[in-house]
């Protein structure tokens, strides 16, 4: 997919990934799942619950080496990840949490990040004192503070109420446009994916592979709820032959 001369930042070819369940049965999770992401591109991965999205992310993040295939990233690429849960250290303040992974970040850079994400007043608070939405923003700040080459977001807005999810999504869209970080976003929410993605990857049910790859050319800032709905309809129309 990458234009000639500009190599993809991330190249993923997972031939096969299986789990052995507690009862001893083998569960095929991923099969022939392949895609690339160009530098600065946001790829959104949408699929049914339990189709192996998180497994795919873990493999890309280097947390799971037990699979057949390959993941190609530039040497010494920095990864920033926002997990489904914030995974903050409860015994460190917001700022100390971010500092721990981003020791090299300057005070100015951190201040800018905290202001951008509305965390400035909360930087001396402990995670236990934060709301869920704030804790997720801290997790996002932590991932951005290291200036990652690849940002991995695993359902970053799941279990948030709709208005908060919408606000965080808009904030993320603005950030992505500004910072131009190559990003993998996993979600089960098609509208969320359409609102954020440069390219949409539709995943099949287990064992997951990519059913369709849909570029979205419209500028992120112009994607109103109406536009998103019409893109969604368009995708559904294209997919109808595939689904049957």
């Amino acid at each position: 997919m990458s234009p000639v001369g500009a190599p993809a930042l991330l190249e993923v070819q997972i031939a096969h990934k299986a789990f052995v369940t507690a009862s001893g049965a083998r569960l095929d999770v991923l099969r022939d799942l392949a895609f690339t992401l160009d530098p600065g591109e946001l790829g959104a991965f949408v699929g049914p619950s339990g189709c192996g999205k998180t497994t795919m992310l873990k493999i890309v993040a280097g947390l799971d080496a037990d699979y057949r295939g390959r993941v190609v990233l530039p040497a010494a690429a920095k990864l920033g990840m926002v997990f489904q849960e914030p995974r903050l250290l409860h015994w460190r303040t917001v700022e100390q949490n971010v500092r721990l992974v981003a020791a090299a970040a300057t005070a100015d850079r951190l201040a800018e990040l905290f202001h951008m994400l509305g965390l400035w007043e909360h930087r001396t608070h402990y995670p236990g004192e934060l709301s869920v939405g704030l804790a997720r923003r801290v997790a996002l700040a932590r991932a951005l503070a290291i200036e990652p080459d690849l940002l991995i977001l695993d359902e970053p807005f799941a279990s948030l109420d709709a208005p908060l999810a919408r606000r965080l999504r808009d904030e993320l869209a603005a950030l992505v446009d500004r910072l131009k970080i190559t990003t993998m976003l996993v979600t089960h929410d098609v509208e969320e994916a359409i609102g954020l993605a440069d390219r949409l990857f539709l995943l099949s049910a287990r064992p997951a592979h990519i059913l369709a790859e849909i570029p979205i050319a419209m500028r992120r800032s112009e994607r109103s709820p109406n536009e998103i709905a019409s893109i969604k309809d368009e995708i559904a129309r294209q997919l109808r032959p595939l689904a049957t």
């Binding site: 990864l79 995974r87 721990l100 236990g128 004192e129």
Partner: protein, 245 residues
Amino acid sequence: MLRLASLALLLAIWWLGALYAGEQMLPGPVTVLDAIIAEARSGELFLNLGATLLRVALAFALAMAAGTAIGLLMGRVAIADRVGDPWLVVLLNLPALVIIVLAYVWGGLTETAAIAAVAINKLPNAIVTVREGARALDPGLDEMARVFGMARTTVLRHVVLPQLAPFLAAAARSGLALVWKIVLVVELLGRPNGVGFQIGVAFQLFDVTRILAYALAFVGVMLSIESLLVQPLERRVSRWRARVA
């Protein structure tokens, strides 16, 4: 307030018991206090308390350090747990007295043998507690640390140890109480000074006053360590918890 009243009640029962049993069998609080003051004046008290305290500190530090390392390993690595568990069961069920006597037989009546014997007695206890803590470590935080490429020492210090803190505190609390009791036995059996040695001498002379004087003086020392060192440290380590709304 209630604690003070409870303590006063204990003193009153002691005093009444002394009246009933006679000074020979159970000297009263005032007699024991006089004995403590006399021992303090001669300097004997501080010498013996100091010797015991030093042994407690060394054995405690040794057992906690080794116990934390082994407990972490056994809690995190399945093979280490399977290999180490039978040893642990043997060690847990070996009577303190056996370990002490064997240490003196094999190592001679030396300070090293004494401290090693106490540390080995405390060790399985620390391992079991820390192992539980290591098993309860959050795998999610572990993954987070790996994705962000944290250095091993950073992970240990800022991710693992804070999660272990409650378990380490529990091991330290029960450990301190256990260690000082065993140190007294070790001193009784093979050391020329310390609270245990003094109590041994007093036992031979049926000097109950002296036994109580040394025991209570040392309980006082341990209580001050608990309230001046252990509790403030616990508060500091868990300060993030106190602020949770």
